[in-house]
Symmetry: C2
Subunit: 361 residues, 2 copies
């Protein structure tokens, strides 16, 4: 067994794991289904009350003409970019170098759609107006991820966003929102989802991050756009005869947890504060702007693992299930807040951070 | 409301609809989940006991080295053909003109994978050895669908299948099985699934036709093939964080209904016999070779609808929810047998066919 696995197992055995909502087990589906009438008809190839109601509700919530439920964001976003590229007749898009499409999709965008990517900004920051202004290549579409997950969930200034949107409209560049964690940034921006989405031509949101559903995504935009997206959904093999297990759970947890995004955000700020009081630890961003952040530590991965294993054993509080090496002498891990954090005794959390601070020196 | 909808609604209101297992409602998922321990861990991006156990069981059942669970057959089959085309360096495949990839997938094979299709045989019959021998173009892969759904679920002779397989092996043409209804033909062929699959290099099977699950498919082949299929599954957006709602129901109904394929097949033969005793009606095939067949009628669609609406009303037995026009004076519909047929009183069925025979004249 690798050391990584022992940390994961020790984390899973703590009474109080700090991250997320709950264990990913089938109780999540059972709970969502308990609420549903068993005689409710399945959706059938994208049709039927169950899927259409959810799509209509999400279109309204996001302030878009129309919305389509997809099994995955990977599928939804490739398709969005393909549609915009076809519309402009230019297979080129721009996004951040740590965009999901660039690093997590086995190059589906290039291998299936033959779309070239122009990378803006760098690993330390989000895409800003300047990056867009100084692009010296024409693109069909710019994708912005809010918040930028792989750099701890950072956000651009809202004014910068508005300026990027205005510039893109002027230049005829379609603007797509990777809103995998859009619900999670509403409390910081103090905007409605529709206000933010108004800046974009198309929007993808996910239901298994902050919402904690099982899987699935919504892609929203104007009627012509979503109509074309359904054709591509079928081509990708995503037009399943029934998507209702995902839709029912998306709907159930969306209603339950959307109102709690403010709480998760406040708790993330509190927890980041605890980390930042420790020696050799800093969070990115320093003050979270959503329910997530990254914890960077100037210690070796091996040393941190040993420290955490002992702390989990002694306190039964779990900080993270895994650690990633950054260099020979530094490492980091990701934190996102859900239902669990509120259930952990504050005194225990303070004790954990005292221990961490002492042992990491 | 169109006439088509009234037939569907009248069918759904009969006490004894003859086709399939049950209504497609969420009770299907609830029943499958009742059997499962709620603390069972979700699969996570294709990993975990839940998905791996099912994949291993299916690989063994199909007699293949390895198997991968896919959200849809559309995705699985495009990927299978892509892998074989890449292996041979030739983007050309052969299949029947009514192949699912040719008529139901919005040309995903062409639009996403740029694979050209050569059409063998015609609308009246299945692909035979002669068609393969007389192909005057080189192809990477031949796809055979057993049974050929769109022509009533017809099958080639088993000896012909074996000869096609031997020829393809000799010529280096990869042979792929569209086994969407493979389980359903085992009683007729009197072969195990593994015996049939042995003739093919790759195999797709579905879990929501005869099995009656919610959605999902297995793609099986050798280790190198399935490994590559997982890369393409991610590219397509099919590598969902959790596929367990489909896997649990596939597993549950597979165990329950695989042993009943013989019964469904016998019942299909019986029901086809009733149709064939009627004036102006013939089934394709004349004697079914699986649980399905098509009913062809030498009457107008409008006349048949009127007759059926009256029969459903008078007997509360439903023959079909929909009818498709073939010409100005003929039409057809599809029948597939599942759990429902055995529950319908035989006297009622005989009465229905007496009425149908009298009124269709």
């Amino acid at each position: 067994m690798s050391v990584d696995n022992s940390l994961l197992e020790a984390y899973n055995q703590t009474t109080f794991p700090l991250i997320g909502h709950s264990k990913r087990n089938i109780q999540i589906l059972k709970e969502a289904l308990n609420d549903s009438d068993e005689s409710m008809d399945s959706d059938v190839y994208g049709k039927g009350k169950l899927i259409e109601d959810f799509q209509n509700n999400m279109a309204e919530y996001l302030g878009k003409e129309s919305a389509v439920f997809f099994p995955s964001g990977t599928m939804a976003q490739q398709i969005a970019l393909r549609i915009w590229c076809d519309k402009k007749g230019l297979k080129k898009v721009a996004y951040h170098p740590l965009c999901h499409l660039e690093i997590h999709e086995e190059d589906g965008l290039k291998e299936l759609h033959h779309i070239e990517s122009i990378l803006l900004a760098d690993h330390s920051r989000t895409v800003q107006l300047e990056d867009v202004l100084s692009m010296n290549e024409d693109v069909s579409c710019l994708l912005l991820e809010l918040p930028q997950r792989e750099i701890g969930g950072q956000l651009p200034d809202y004014a910068d966003l508005e300026a990027i949107s205005a510039y893109c409209r002027e230049k005829g560049i379609m603007l797509h929102l990777d809103g995998a964690r859009l619900f999670e940034i509403l409390p910081y921006f103090q905007k409605s989802a529709a206000e933010i989405c108004k800046l974009f031509d198309s929007v993808y949101v996910s239901f298994y991050k902050g919402i904690g559903g099982i899987a699935g995504a919504i892609l929203a935009g104007d009627e012509a756009f979503t109509k074309e997206s359904k054709v591509w959904k079928r081509r990708h093999g995503g037009d399943l005869i029934s998507l209702y297990p995902y839709i029912i759970s998306a709907d159930y947890y969306f209603k339950q947890r959307l109102p709690k995004m403010g709480q998760y955000y406040e708790e993330a700020r509190e927890l980041a504060g605890f980390y930042n009081q420790c020696h050799a630890i800093i969070t990115k961003p320093l003050v979270p702007v959503s329910n997530m952040f990254h914890v960077h530590l100037d210690v070796t991965k091996a040393k941190l693992e040993a420290i955490l294993l002992a702390i989990y054993e002694e306190t039964s509080i779990g900080l993270t299930p895994s650690i990633r090496e950054l260099s020979e002498s530094s490492c980091y891990f990701e934190v996102h807040i859900g239902e669990r954090y509120a259930n952990v005794p504050k005194a225990g959390i303070k004790q954990v951070f005292q221990m961490l601070d002492e042992r990491i020196r």
